[in-house]
Subunit: 331 residues, 2 copies
């Protein structure tokens, strides 16, 4: 059923290695032979086998993207640019998700024969980076990092965005400010929390413990946190969310509670997903160049694969506040 390079070789009257070389346009094969081989290949409908190639060359030209929750609205915005950037570099993308057992995940990544891995959801205590390093399997951090292993990374620097957000909140008269943050074992959540607290501190404002809600970066977290805040005797007048998806949950909770945004409570997101700009949402949020960040992570990873000795490079992307309709003056 399958046509192999041997079949092509036979039809073209050459050896199998010559077919291999001819079809990859190796200069060692004469033009006349190339033509003959290409014709034979076309006649037989020959399609080279990636598996055979991978085994022989020791490279699959496939890289893995490790995520947690595939349903999350955030991920398509990673997957799409990563896919296209990799495609343009001649690589393919393979999705993987974290499982309860980190070691199982690492084994799967290794057994897959991937040329490299993009870690988009590493917790700071994950063993995956360790396992990959021990195997010599190249990887890069995207969006999050782990302190356990130093490696190439592309992340957001939340400082400026949080500064601008804090200034805008203060300017609008907000003093009772709450935060819905991501999991405490992610660098993303930690960095954003630190940046936020520092920015508010410049204005003499701090976030009390009861105004902090933590949970996964999903809508349910935003919804639960906001609901909790709104039921308080003295609810916050503004809620900063760990990311846009969380903020969408917050908007939902406010709407469900019949609470006006930004009249009764202001809500700020982080990421500036395309849907944040939708006229029916118009979320005030902290933006950065997500596409460029993805492309950078891919670029770093592929370069690392092809050039293992290069020093580690940590790429940070600037953030800024985008004012829309969910942040307003206190009533």
């Amino acid at each position: 059923m399958t046509v192999t390079s041997r079949d092509v070789a036979q039809l073209a009257g050459v050896s199998q290695p010559t077919v291999s070389r001819a079809l990859r346009d190796d200069p060692r094969v004469s033009e006349a032979t190339k033509v003959r081989v290409r014709q034979a290949a076309a006649r037989l409908g020959y399609v080279p086998s990636d598996v055979g190639r991978a085994l022989s060359s020791g490279r699959t030209r496939r890289i893995g993207l490790l995520l947690t929750d595939l349903e999350n609205q955030f991920y398509p915005h990673i997957i799409a640019p990563a896919f296209h950037q990799l495609e343009s570099l001649g690589y393919q993308l393979m999705l993987h998700t974290e499982a309860a057992d980190n070691d199982v995940v690492a084994e799967r990544l290794i057994s897959n024969g991937l040329d490299g891995v993009l870690l988009a959801t590493s917790t700071i205590d994950s063993v995956v980076p360790l396992r990959l390093r021990d195997r010599g399997l190249p990887f890069a951090y995207f969006n999050r990092t782990s302190t356990a292993v130093h490696a190439d990374s592309a992340v957001v620097n939340p400082l400026r965005g949080m500064d601008e957000a804090a200034a805008a909140l203060i300017e609008c008269g907000h003093r009772r400010i709450a935060a819905i943050l991501g999991p405490a074992n992610t660098s993303t959540a930690i960095n954003r929390e630190n940046a936020l607290r520092e920015a508010l501190a410049h204005h003499g404002v701090s976030i009390p413990a009861h105004y902090v809600h933590r949970g996964p970066f999903d809508t349910a977290t935003g919804q639960a946190g906001t609901q909790r805040f709104l039921e308080m005797a003295e609810p916050p007048t503004a809620i900063i969310c760990g990311n846009d998806v969380v903020a969408f949950g917050a908007l939902n909770a406010a709407r469900s509670a019949g609470v006006d945004v930004p009249g009764d409570v202001s809500i700020v997101g982080f990421d500036d997903l395309p849907s944040a700009a939708w006229p029916i949402i118009r979320l005030t949020t902290i933006a950065y160049d997500l596409d460029a960040m993805v492309r950078r992570a891919v670029e770093l990873l592929v370069d690392r694969i092809e050039n293992p000795q290069r020093p580690v490079e940590e790429s940070a992307f600037e953030s800024r506040l985008v004012m829309r309709d969910t942040l307003g003056h206190i009533r």
Copy 2:
């Protein structure tokens, strides 16, 4: 650097084939040997190579999912359940996107050594199904079908949903009804259009040509179509959208134009994505069990791989109207 089954064999004092069998728990290997082999494997940190396995066994245990636009909000809701269902069956998922040249896509699918392919975006005139069939590469249609090749499929039957939607529209006094439909070369768009027209015909209503807008299933299409409709001298009082993502675009356009939904215009979607139920959206839409449909497509495909002779099975999923807040009485 890489530990192979040979290394394990040497350490355990057995032959390489025995390692292969022992680790896969082959009954032909004695328990004592299995223990020895497993210990040796653990000590060396041996992880079997999928590539070697694939070449030897002729199967990769990977299936491809062919999509068009990875950014589309619709796809995460396909990718996630497909991924998990495949994982539970011991398969891995590989994303692929359509390209300008269909033949290139088909070649890529074939060269990848996939065990099967899920076609989620076939146009009715795509050559991909033909190429796959010619190669004997199993595939199944998801959501859309192509008439060119008969194959397993899991699709929505829009009849009931459209009937209920038409009845609700008429009940609410709508007569000037517009439609924003998908690409004319997709079975999905055709089936939904036919179902809609038929349903309306029962009530003596038809959709004039100028009330029809066609385009890809994305928000831009919904936005453009709605904007066009709203600028008309006699705009429609209701707009039926090809799917929810299109409907989101329609909602955006209405909001941008300062037009009230459903006061000035009603909007109906199709798919009932999780976000359609969000309190800040509350889209009236036609629902079906998307998760079950995905799982069914995966199930059919995997079964086809393992049991090639089974007769073709076409699975249709019932649809129904979900009333929320974007369909209301005409003013």
